[in-house]
Symmetry: C2
DNA sequence: TCACAACATGAAGAATTCTTCACTTCATGT
DNA sequence: ACATGAAGTGAAGAATTCTTCATGTTGTGA
């Protein structure tokens, strides 16, 4: 293998490192979506969405097929679902830690409903 | 929550999206390491390593403590280990897919040992 | 107290990645 | 054949992220 594994891994994570791409993968891990369906859910320009889909296609994380007038995307590695879940858990854990830490350090103020 | 979840997730993955940071996390998921120990394993400049450690610290993925002359780092979320494993599997799957695909399309040539 | 080793940090230029724009392509309906 | 809706693409400037350099801190041992 010419490219070291940790380099490949880094690239993989980098392709996950974009809000639109995360949303796309989350939507696709529920079910296949046509591009115009994704567009309804994600608030970005059509051509930007195309660019992000291209990134995901390049890394083989998704595949597309044409269905008449529409192009339908699907996830190629179902394990991505687990990965996203796993990430959510870690994130929840870290958030909790940070909150605890604040609880310890921050001067207590009147509890506020919206923060 | 002011910041949407998928934004936070994207940031999380982006902090994983760097070869040095991946290696650091892999080393730390084996056991705690002092900075100079990490430096032995990873071929980057000391100050670069510090910068990457700072990135990981900012996102609370690692924590550091001083032990005499040295600073020792450890992983704060053990689940990171699973995540890295999970990524490795997906990557292996994708690589296999791509290889299969090549097997189908590419004109077979004499097998070569070094590619 | 000095000197040195181990780390950290701010700043700046280099390198990447994002977003948008102007087009192009492809399939369908008329 | 033409118009239209759906999607993709190359290019370019804006925005981020990397790497390195110079300098600053903090312990330890002489």
């Amino acid at each position: 293998m010419a490219v070291p594994l940790y380099q490949t891994k880094a690239e993989f994570f980098r392709t996950l490192g974009h809000p639109a791409r995360i949303r796309i993968l989350e939507l696709l891990s529920e079910r296949d979506h046509a591009v115009h369906e994704l567009l309804e859910q994600i608030a970005i320009e059509a051509s930007n969405l195309s660019q992000q889909l291209a990134v995901l296609r390049r890394t083989s994380l998704v595949v597309s097929r044409r269905e008449g007038n529409a192009v339908v995307y699907s996830i190629s590695a179902p394990e991505v679902r687990d990965l996203l879940l796993s990430a959510r858990q870690i994130l929840a854990g870290l958030a909790a830690t940070r909150t605890d830490f604040e609880d310890e350090l921050v001067v207590p103020t009147r509890p506020s409903a919206d923060r």
